[in-house]
């Protein structure tokens, strides 16, 4: 270190830094790569990041563009307003499962039971409302509470008994599916009334009754919220004398978000507007993003995902966090199950089967949440879900057989995990793991 100091200081006249600077003054490491200002700064920063394995969302965006181009070339209805609206609508159900999985992945664990729990939740909800005539909203609440309790049971076995999450949730995968089959053993399926909360997540339900203004209001609220919170944060940081994001970067980000939001609003308005299921999904994402990044709970989840030993020595109750996170995953699995049941207004024995589990995990990983714990964000549920749902919808449009769909989804999941592993390795070697 001292050698660096002298090299820097000789250029200014050879006085050792400590004699010039009083000790309490900011000591900036001369080796820190300071970003150049302006547009060139972005380019160099971008190159440095790619080299260092900090790919961030770049592979996903590249993948999305490729997917859009390929499917559009194969079928020109792919980028039609109605199909985009479809993608947005169907991505919400599995997306809820992915949100729960993001929490679990941040912890460095896995939950293989979420799809079974989602199917069970639909069956329980149908039994409550259709068989027993329970109030729909009360039934929603109870179903989610049951999902939370199921997740907490998984968490208990992991945290208190020490059974690996993989095994506990694999048992849950089978067990909860069995319970669902048992509930539906007589009829095989129970239809659900298309009213109240179930109607809200129905495909015919749109924000502000398909009013043109609805989509623009949503886009404006999103863009304004981002701009104002960034500016407020910048002002606080400037006042506190800590590094802040330059205004040019805030504006660039805002403009990018605005272009995407308003373009989407225009497209969706060419169809029927913004599906309510998608609006709910986005609201839940914003809330979860806040929880993960801005609350002590979220910080503890990251900490446990980074180092269990360090977390418990810092006074964090590791078992408590584990149980809470699996409970969250169970709750979101149940919520997602209700969304999916709302798509067909039925609880049937097929719910939660097939490739739902793989799709939900793939979405979280493709979106950039690491399987190795401690790295990621809840937006990966949206971004990864978009990739997965685009592929699904595209293959449906091309009337691809389910066998092909499985193989392609498997390949995409593998690719995402490979990118995750490789970027983790490059980040290690460039000291940013």
């Amino acid at each position: 270190m001292s050698s660096d100091k002298t090299t820097v200081d000789t250029s200014k006249g050879g006085v050792p830094a400590d004699e010039v600077l009083p000790p309490a003054v900011e000591v900036i490491d001369p080796r820190l790569l300071v970003r150049e200002q302006g547009f060139r700064g972005y380019i160099t920063e971008f190159k440095r990041r790619v080299k260092g394995g900090e790919l961030g969302s770049m592979p996903v965006i590249a993948a999305l563009i490729i997917i859009f181009v390929v499917f559009q070339l194969a079928n020109d209805r792919f980028l039609s307003a109605n199909n985009i609206s479809n993608i947005g609508y169907y991505l919400a159900g599995a997306g809820m499962l992915s949100i729960g999985l993001v929490f679990v992945l941040l912890l460095g664990e896995i939950d293989l039971s979420v799809a079974s729990v989602s199917g069970l939740a639909a069956a329980i909800f149908a039994v409550f409302t259709t068989t027993h005539g329970m109030n729909m909203w009360l039934a929603v609440l109870l179903t989610i509470v049951i999902g939370v309790a199921i997740g907490a049971i998984h968490g208990f076995f992991l945290a208190k008994i020490g059974v690996p999450a993989f095994v506990v949730t694999l048992a849950g995968f089978l067990g909860w599916n069995g319970l669902m089959l048992w509930l539906l053993r007589k009829t095989g399926s129970i239809s659900i009334a298309d009213t109240g909360p179930i109607h809200i997540v129905d495909q015919t339900s749109f924000f502000m009754n398909s009013s043109i203004a609805g989509a623009y209001i949503l886009a404006t609220v999103g863009v304004a919220a981002m701009l104002l919170s960034s500016l407020a944060d910048q002002a606080r940081r400037r006042k506190a004398g800590v590094p802040f994001r330059p205004t040019s970067e805030i504006l660039l980000r805002t403009v990018l978000l605005a272009i995407v939001s308003y373009a989407l609003a225009i497209v969706l308005n060419n169809s029927n507007g913004v599906p309510n299921a998608l609006v709910l999904f986005l609201v839940v994402l914003v809330i979860c993003d806040y929880v993960v990044r801005r609350t002590t709970f979220g910080r503890k989840v990251f900490a446990v995902g980074g180092s269990i030993e360090a977390s418990s020595r810092a006074g964090i109750s590791v078992p408590g966090i584990r149980i809470a996170v699996f409970a969250i995953a169970g709750g979101f699995a149940a919520l997602g199950g209700l969304f999916i049941a709302g798509q067909i207004q039925t609880a049937n024995t097929q719910a939660g089967s097939g490739n739902l589990l793989m799709l939900a995990i793939a979405a979280a990983v493709i979106g950039g949440t690491s399987l190795f714990g401690g790295r990621g964000n809840v937006w990966s549920a949206l971004i990864g879900g978009l990739v997965i749902q685009s592929i699904q919808t595209g293959l449906d449009l091309l009337n691809m057989d389910v066998s092909i769909q499985y193989m392609i989804t498997g390949g995409v999941l593998l690719a995402a995990v490979v990118i995750d592993s490789v970027s983790r390795r490059t980040q290690r070697t460039s000291g940013r793991a």
Partner: protein
């Protein structure tokens, strides 16, 4: 020199700790007063880190009593120790590689503003703290994984100073540090003593120990093997207590060297 209060801020009475078949600590006694630097020395495996972890609540004690300001307390969890006012820098550091410097410094006691984590104030306080320790870290926003061993050590030490501890335990804090940083940590230990904190310093370096400690407690094979005031005790006496004999590897080597130079 130092004004040592009558009641020790922290006292261990007859503390024992077992790990399966290993009796790591047997009937250990230790007293630390406010404004005192107590050095804990002993050979590898003597039980120093284990003793630290019992005080910090990582490994609850099997037998004995821990007294805090004269009252018996039970420390079963790290948070119990934190609440009493014990801050610990572990030998193995225990930092979260994926969190940045700020996140690690404040882990478990984040500052809040309207219920959410106050990153700005935390970042400001982190920079101030690291600057008073004259430590160069490229940025307080880079993950711990990208710091050098010594820089991590310094982050771990800084972490102990956030919050308002009454007793600071440093388990081999200078082992990974360069000359300048070692001197700074020793200065820091003296400043902590001036502020009236009790400090437990573990070190294998006798020069460090005699430079800053007021008393030296020797552990040998998990038992007390003597306590000495630093003034009026020679290094040889301490080394004899550490190794358990006057005829030991260190004295043999010294006499051999003495003969060779003659």
């Amino acid at each position: 020199m130092v004004h040592v209060s009558a009641t020790p801020v922290l006292a261990l009475r007859g503390v024992s700790k077992r790990f399966g078949a290993v009796q790591a600590l047997t009937d250990v006694e230790l007293e630390v007063h406010a404004g005192e630097v107590a050095a804990l020395v002993g050979d590898n495996g003597a039980g120093k880190s284990t003793l630290v972890k019992t005080i910090a609540g990582v490994h609850p004690i099997d037998e004995g009593v821990i007294e805090w300001e004269g009252r018996g307390v039970s420390i079963n969890r790290p948070s119990d120790a934190q609440q009493l006012g014990v801050a610990t820098v572990y030998q193995d550091l225990a930092l979260c590689d994926n969190l940045d410097v700020v996140g690690n410094l404040f882990l478990g006691r984040e500052l809040l503003r309207y219920g959410s984590i106050d990153e700005v104030t935390m970042e400001k306080r982190s920079r101030e703290l690291l600057n008073t320790l004259s430590i160069r870290i490229p940025s307080v926003r880079i993950p711990i994984a990208s710091l050098s061993g010594g820089q991590r050590q310094v982050v771990a030490i800084a972490r102990a100073l956030i919050g308002d501890p009454k007793v600071v335990i440093l388990d081999e804090p200078t082992a990974a540090l360069g000359v300048e940083q070692t001197a700074q940590v020793l200065d820091l230990v003296e400043r902590l003593r001036e502020r009236g904190l009790g400090v437990i310093l573990i070190s294998h370096n006798m020069a460090d120990v005699t430079a800053v400690a007021d008393t030296v407690h020797v552990l040998r094979l998990g038992r007390n093997n003597g306590s000495f005031p630093v003034k009026g005790t020679t290094n040889e006496q301490i080394i004899a207590a550490i190794t358990g004999a006057t005829d030991n590897a260190v004295t043999r080597r010294q006499s051999r060297n003495a003969e060779a130079t003659q």
